[in-house]
């Protein structure tokens, strides 16, 4: 009995874990708001849909060697990857995937986009690296009252006030917002808590400001306005940081005010390498050519103690402090032992120094309507498939068939949970694989039930027949699962995108089917035996 109890507890635990894995949850994700992308928390079921199910675009890129040979293709590809990733916002999609495939290719997946020409243009544009000094003069601080006035005059606020009503209260808002804010908001433009004042907070270095991720679209909208742009401090420009920062529970995006004139740009840079120093920790060594070295020396001499922003494609990657005048060779210490950060920064510098021409070797766009059709068809096929299997099982095996159907329900739940747990993407072939595996999942039940019937026939008691039925079917079940798993593993290894989705669904299904048949269904039989009278015959 205690054996049965622990079996039931284990099954309950697996069901709870699966339901939990599939439960809609709050995740931080890039979402589109007012045409701009921000990190935000949303609730959704954690099953990702592949491109073929939601429509979108898939690009495969290669280093273009037709005009000039590239010496180190692997490094060139890493540089290109860095560049494409910094441009991620320009694609205009919520969840782009940019990854390296093998040693020679990059794939870019852009869900929900169909402007092929724009996307390829974004990818193929060559990278620009600049070194710019961050503003030391509080220029933005002084300009804010004027900017707030312009925002109100031009009526940009109307929508903003509404948008704020539902995004407030933010941690940042509470710093700047007094309780009567919404009432006072209508007053004249000289109000101490105008839109810029309210949404922008001083960062921890000169010229750096912090904007809560949810307010980024609003600030972008203001900055896009021509009148606001002309009112920005002269000789300065405003650039977003590449990475978001977590402060407490909230995500902030840094906003930098920079001198428009770069002290130097990437064309003078020869190389950059990460290094580990026993005293200073991880660092990046970089080297300029002669002309660059001279220029860099004079510029850095003038700016000792200032922050120098490293800007790749208009995104501020980092802004270290200039400690002393630097010539052709310099180093950036990372302040700690983080070699990965140094490797990434070196890659950014090399990406700007040695632009990589890319060519599109494969491009695929899938219309959103096709994706909707595919989902509808997949669901119908799944429902019909499951219905037919349930019918066959119950008609043929009666009560035992019903137990098998319970096992099948467990199987469906666990398979989906495994897919969600591994962050697998659900694709059209994946759906097909899933429907197909429903048919195969009951195979183990057929093996067991036929065996039980045989054992009953030779006159064994119900209890013994069930026991031996499971034991004798065991070797065949394991062997069939392993052979199929081998094929699925090879599919995964060789396949790309859609075929991989199919293989993953098949593997998840195999694992769930094994547990369902030899553990869950068996427990249900044991449960039945514990309740049945000794004389009762099994309906099979």
């Amino acid at each position: 009995m205690s054996n049965l109890k622990s079996r039931l507890l284990l099954i309950a635990a697996m069901i709870i874990a699966s339901v939990w894995a599939l439960f809609p949850r709050t995740v931080v994700e890039r979402v589109q708001r007012d045409g701009v992308f921000v990190h935000d928390t949303i609730r959704r079921v954690p099953l990702k849909r592949g491109l073929d199910l939601q429509g979108g675009m898939h690009l495969t890129l290669e280093v273009d060697e037709s005009k000039q040979a590239v010496t180190n293709v692997s490094d060139a590809l890493d540089r290109a990857l860095t560049v494409v990733r910094t441009r991620i916002d320009e694609f205009g999609v919520a969840e782009p995937i940019v990854q390296k495939v093998g040693e020679t290719r990059i794939t870019v997946e852009l869900p929900g986009i169909d402007d092929r020409e724009r996307a390829t243009a974004v990818v193929q544009r060559s990278a620009v690296l600049r070194f710019q000094i961050t503003d030391e003069t509080q220029a933005l601080e002084r300009a804010i009252p004027r900017l707030d006035g312009i925002v109100k005059e031009r009526g940009l606020l109307a929508r903003a006030a509404n948008a704020n009503a539902d995004t407030a209260p933010s941690a940042l808002g509470s710093l700047f917002q007094n309780p009567t804010d919404s009432a006072a908001g209508d007053s004249a433009g000289t109000s101490p808590d105008g839109p810029f004042r309210r949404l922008i907070q001083q960062g921890n270095m000169p010229g750096q400001y912090m904007v809560a991720a949810r307010d980024v679209p609003e600030i972008e909208r203001y900055l896009a306005d021509s009148a606001v742009r002309t009112a920005l401090p002269p000789g300065k420009e405003v650039r977003w940081g590449a990475d978001s920062v977590m402060l407490g529970a909230q995500v902030f995006k840094p906003l930098y005010v920079l001198d428009v004139r770069p002290i130097i740009d990437g064309t003078f840079l020869l190389d950059a390498k990460p290094a580990q120093d026993p005293l200073e920790g991880a660092k990046v060594d970089f080297q300029f050519n002669n002309a660059g070295g001279q220029r860099f020396r004079t510029e850095t001499a003038r700016h000792i103690g200032d922050n120098m922003a490293i800007v790749l494609d208009d995104r501020v990657m980092t802004a270290p402090v200039i400690q002393s005048a630097i010539g052709a060779r310099g180093q950036i210490t990372m302040g700690g032992n983080d070699l990965q950060a140094a490797t990434d920064l070196a890659l950014v510098l090399r990406a700007g120094a040695l632009p990589v021409p890319l060519k599109v070797v494969e491009a695929r766009t899938i219309g959103a309507s096709l994706g909707e059709d595919a989902i509808r068809q997949g669901l119908s096929a799944g429902a019909l498939g499951i219905g037919l299997v349930i019918l066959i099982m119950i008609v043929y095996y009666r009560f035992s068939g019903f137990l098998a159907v319970c096992g099948l329900a467990f199987y469906v739940l666990v398979t989906l949970a495994i897919l969600a747990g591994f962050g697998a993407t659900l694709t059209l072939p994946g759906l097909a694989g899933f429907v197909l595996s429903i048919g195969m999942a009951v195979d183990a039940n057929f093996l067991i039930f036929e065996r039980i019937r045989e054992e009953l026939e030779v006159g064994k008691t119900t209890r013994l027949a069930i026991d031996q039925g499971f034991n004798h079917a065991w070797s065949a079940i394991v062997d069939t699962h392993v052979t199929t798993a081998l094929t699925a593993a090879i599919l995964y290894q060789f396949g790309t995108g859609p075929v991989r989705g199919f293989a993953v669904a098949l593997l998840a299904g195999l694992a769930a089917s094994l547990v369902s048949a030899i553990f869950v269904v068996r427990t249900l039989f044991i449960l039945w035996l514990s309740r049945a009278k000794p004389s009762q015959t099994l309906s099979i």
């Binding site: 390829t120 491009a363 059709d373 595919a374 197909l436 429903i438 199929t484 699925a488």
Partner: protein, 322 residues
């Protein structure tokens, strides 16, 4: 108790000649056709451009062709998609010269086609539902990878089965599965199914399923070999096939039921996949019954096991008892 094929005692092995004749009749035409005309490969394998275009109003195929000719893509293939009222066309530019034109920049042919259609029918007259552009090198690499994947699939299963059973069982199972594969290719040739990545996936699935089926039968053979030491192999094999027959047929039919669902609702993308699997499962079931066991018997007769073949037998027994 509802039972099908209960306590049957068919002499399946005796039928092997008929099985061979049926197979030869089925496969032979394909063995002539395939070397003559080969298979059609999808864009993924050949490289090229494929576009699916939906027009707002009815457009004649000839008009589409004329538009393509104006942009120098005269030999692109044009086909209607779905019913005629939907005004949807699939345009394929898959010939060598298209692929070559594309090698410079993968996008150019697609842009040419789009531009010429806009010029001929108006800016807003259609939309591109779906498009695919593949460079030539990507395609040839994929073809190579697909072939290697299939060979590895066979190799690994052979090793696994040789370890779990005996090497002669493994050889018989793999040969029977190779037979299924050849028959599936013949079937694809007759239906003129285009080889795409998805199709390769379904072929690999057929391999997995078919191997599955053979394993179940041989598992029973392995068991019966221990139980009935005196029984001649011929009877023993027949008996094993008969004993596993209900399971073979039931699994086959539930899987076919699921595939039927995919055939009915799956839509155009899934349908070739569903067809191949449907055929693969039927032929796999057939060969589990009529091909695998005669093959095993033939191997046993050709290379009879020495009376003390116990190393294998013991290993198999140990595996079973584990």
């Amino acid at each position: 108790m509802l039972r099908i094929l209960h306590n049957t005692n068919f002499d399946f092995i005796k039928q092997w000649r008929k099985a061979v004749v049926a197979l030869v009749i089925f496969i032979a035409p394909a063995l002539v056709l395939i070397p003559l005309s080969g298979f059609t490969y999808s864009i993924e394998f050949t490289g090229g451009t494929r576009m699916q275009v939906k027009f707002n109003e009815t457009v004649e195929t000839a008009a589409v062709r004329a538009a393509l000719e104006s942009s120098g893509h005269a030999d692109a293939e044009i086909a209607t998609f779905g019913s005629v009222e939907e005004n949807e066309y699939i345009i394929r530019a898959q010939e060598a010269q298209h692929v070559a034109a594309q090698a410079a920049g993968a996008e150019t042919v697609a842009q040419d086609i789009e531009r010429s259609l806009r010029a001929a029918f108006g800016e807003e007259s259609f939309r591109v539902v779906d498009s695919e552009v593949v460079g030539p090198r990507v395609g040839s690499e994929l073809r190579q990878k697909a072939t290697i994947a299939m060979l590895i699939a066979f190799g690994l299963t052979l090793v696994y089965l040789a370890w779990r059973f005996e090497s002669r069982f493994a050889v018989a199972a793999v040969l029977a599965t190779v037979h299924d594969l050849v028959a599936t290719f013949a079937f694809m040739k007759y239906l003129d199914i285009e080889i795409s990545l998805f199709v390769v996936g379904s072929i690999l699935t057929v391999i997995g399923y078919s191997m599955n089926d053979k394993v179940v039968v041989f598992d029973r053979v392995r068991e019966n070999l221990k139980l009935h030491r005196k029984l001649p192999l011929y009877e023993l094999l027949n008996r094993s096939v008969n004993e596993t027959l209900p399971r073979t047929v039931m699994t086959g039919s539930t899987t076919l039921a699921c595939l039927l669902a995919l055939l009915v609702f799956g839509g155009t993308v899934i349908r070739p996949f569903a067809w191949i699997l449907t055929f693969g499962i039927i032929i796999g079931t057939f060969s589990s019954i009529y091909v695998a066991s005669p093959l095993l018997l033939w191997i046993e007769r050709k290379w009879p096991r020495t009376s003390d073949a116990s190393p294998h037998a013991r290993a198999a027994a140990a595996a079973r008892n584990a």
